[in-house]
Symmetry: C2
Subunit: 394 residues, 2 copies
């Protein structure tokens, strides 16, 4: 039988990163392509104790069906924590627990996008989100992201000229893939523009807790007295991505629609995973754990930057990120980026070509993305040396 697939899925390609990870998943590949937490930061003992206790004390809750909105104690705990620490959430907001922040993007798209509607996003941006919007046959309008965030003039122009703009998608903190952080001024300007044009903001903040330098900036959601922001959070980077626990904070009317959407997608997120996160928040010193993660990643970031500066500063330029997991390197114009990435892969160093992150295939880039959380210190040193050799061949 010749299968006739839907238009939405025919246009969608598998994630370039996940494909690269499959090809370069051998033991001797240096992993600069992934965005995985470092294996050594998982609090495995703590999670084992928590899981045992849950399955002994609340086995039926852990194993039975749950409500689509998510495990209530966890929702309440997240709500209180976000209000107290970040001024996120108003009376009109409600939380839904999701399968990572990825599902917040999926549900926001499901709830707001008709086919052909436009999503304004940073370009480059996170490929998982771009592909999600594509899976709803949305049009993507990429706005170049500068070292202090989205180009606001171009954003304003896009809001005035693009048709059926429903949503602005942004990762303000330590953006994936650029590592850039949006300034407070631009956050406020973006919020005002969205309000003026009646457009929803989808604020994706998976890396917010991973700041290594400077002071936290207020999230866009913290300004949101008007109810135009869907805030996506995640425990993937601070606890475990394998548990797949994320959440959104959005006005109750939107959250109710997202709940109906989630019912149709997967009924609810696994109870044991939600309960593990809940107990971890309740019983553990999460600030200490996150401090530990920051210290590990900060060291790795500095090590990678030092290596890049000493080994290949003549071939690449980059803006040193203040946090997150990624460094966005621009190659000298004499080096073809795709050829470079292939040559690096041939030398067993996996990096992601920047084209994977562009909103449109016509958006050119000579950049590639490096991750510093997954490789060991030795791999960082060795990998950059290999990249130097690769550069010298061009």
């Amino acid at each position: 039988m010749k299968y006739v697939f839907s238009d939405r899925i025919s246009a969608l390609k598998p994630s370039a990163i996940r494909e690269i990870l499959k090809v370069t998943s051998g033991g001797n590949v240096i992993p600069f392509a992934a965005g995985n937490p470092a294996p050594e930061v998982f609090p495995a003992d703590v999670i084992e104790n928590i899981a045992s206790k849950i399955l002994r004390q609340q086995p039926v809750t852990a194993l039975q069906y749950g409500v689509t909105e998510g495990y209530l104690p966890l929702r309440e705990r997240i709500s209180e924590d976000l209000k107290a620490r970040f001024n996120i959430g108003r009376e009109f907001d409600e939380i839904i627990i999701t399968a990572g922040a990825q599902q917040v993007v999926d549900l926001a798209a499901k709830v707001f996008l008709n086919e052909g509607d436009t999503v304004i996003c940073e370009s480059p941006s996170f490929i998982g989100s771009l592909n999600c919007f594509r899976s709803y046959n949305a049009c993507l309008k990429g706005i170049p992201v500068e070292s202090d965030g989205m180009d606001i003039e171009l954003l304003e122009k896009a809001l005035e000229t693009e048709k059926n703009v429903k949503m602005i998608y942004t990762i303000p903190n330590f953006q994936n893939p650029s590592g850039y952080t949006m300034s407070l001024e631009k956050r406020k300007a973006l919020y005002e523009l969205a309000l003026k044009h009646n457009v929803i903001i989808l604020e994706d903040n998976p890396y917010g807790e991973l700041r290594y330098t400077g002071e936290d900036l207020p999230s866009i959601k913290s300004f949101d007295d008007e109810g135009i922001v869907i805030y996506a959070g995640s425990f993937s980077k601070v606890l475990s991505p394998g548990l797949r626990v994320g959440y959104s904070v959005s006005p109750a009317e939107i959250t109710a629609k997202m709940t109906v959407g989630k019912q149709a997608s997967d009924v609810h997120s696994p109870m044991i995973c939600q309960m593990i996160v809940d107990r971890w928040l309740a019983e553990c010193d999460t600030a200490e754990h996150i401090g530990f993660i920051r210290s590990v990643y900060s060291r790795k970031l500095n090590l990678m930057c030092d290596c890049l500066d000493s080994e290949i500063s003549g071939f690449i330029s980059y803006v040193r990120p203040l946090g997150g997991l990624f460094i966005w390197c621009e190659l000298d114009r004499n080096i073809n980026m795709l050829d470079f990435c292939k040559a690096a892969a041939a030398e067993n160093v996996a990096v992601v070509p920047g084209t994977a992150f562009m909103a449109s295939e016509s958006d050119r880039t000579n950049c590639f993305r490096l991750n510093f959380s997954t490789p060991t210190d030795e791999q960082i040193v060795e990998g950059v040396k290999i990249l130097k050799k690769v550069c010298e061949k061009f």
Copy 2:
């Protein structure tokens, strides 16, 4: 801000069942509305031991990102088991692990349905699947389901006359909500008709292991030498629904598209849940456990049928199911079904009005659905007595 939601979500109502469950979730409500496994059948001790062992022995695998297709040992184990026991799966088939069977339905719809395409389904059918198809703006064509399965003549007529039919959705075993089981003859006829008309079959089999009477019938997928069947399986009814682990078996080309769809939805299913199911299959006597579940549910089914027969046989008729979780009761025509369900809820007995399961609002029914796995034996006896009182009021 006035939110303008997508067409797909505007048309979608929350699951009537899940709304009923919210309203009637108080302690003194007799739960004939849910489809939950009995709390006493969860092997909580076993799962606790398995979870501890996983988190001690393979913490990084359990907590790190995994591949979208699912945990490989689990996929291999399911594949071997299905081949050996049910002749399900050919060389060309591949498995993907999903968030319950619900996500198989979601991914099959995502992969095959353009807006306006038609899905042929049984009427009544599982509301979660019907809502999922609706969330893709698909047209539903309901085929009346008889006590031996879908009306094949009407199916053939629909395949000849309906436009853009892409898929036939069926639950052949102990169907939800009717409890009916499709005969072998009809399974073969349905397969041949789908083949003739180039239409995909989505075979949903969450209750297949829960047969209490008679011999297993071959699944439709077991005939599938041509690669036209997507088979949806689940561990929700035999192990735990809270773990949210299901799977699909479909030709590799379809599975690859579903994988791309899942990447955009939730990246992958939680590792710990997949690994628990894998270890349970590998290390436990699953046949014994399923035998235990069958004995519990068989007893409850018989008890409920005995009560119905002795208390309200003058008011309702039903076909005694051979397995599954549900009894589909048709009320005497002198009793209005919706009024009856409301009156029952007022007396603290939760049942689901049959209209919730119809493919179209214009499909009339005077039936309601009873579940016998969730209530205790005492609740079954007491609940049917209350239903008798409610009947007598009409």
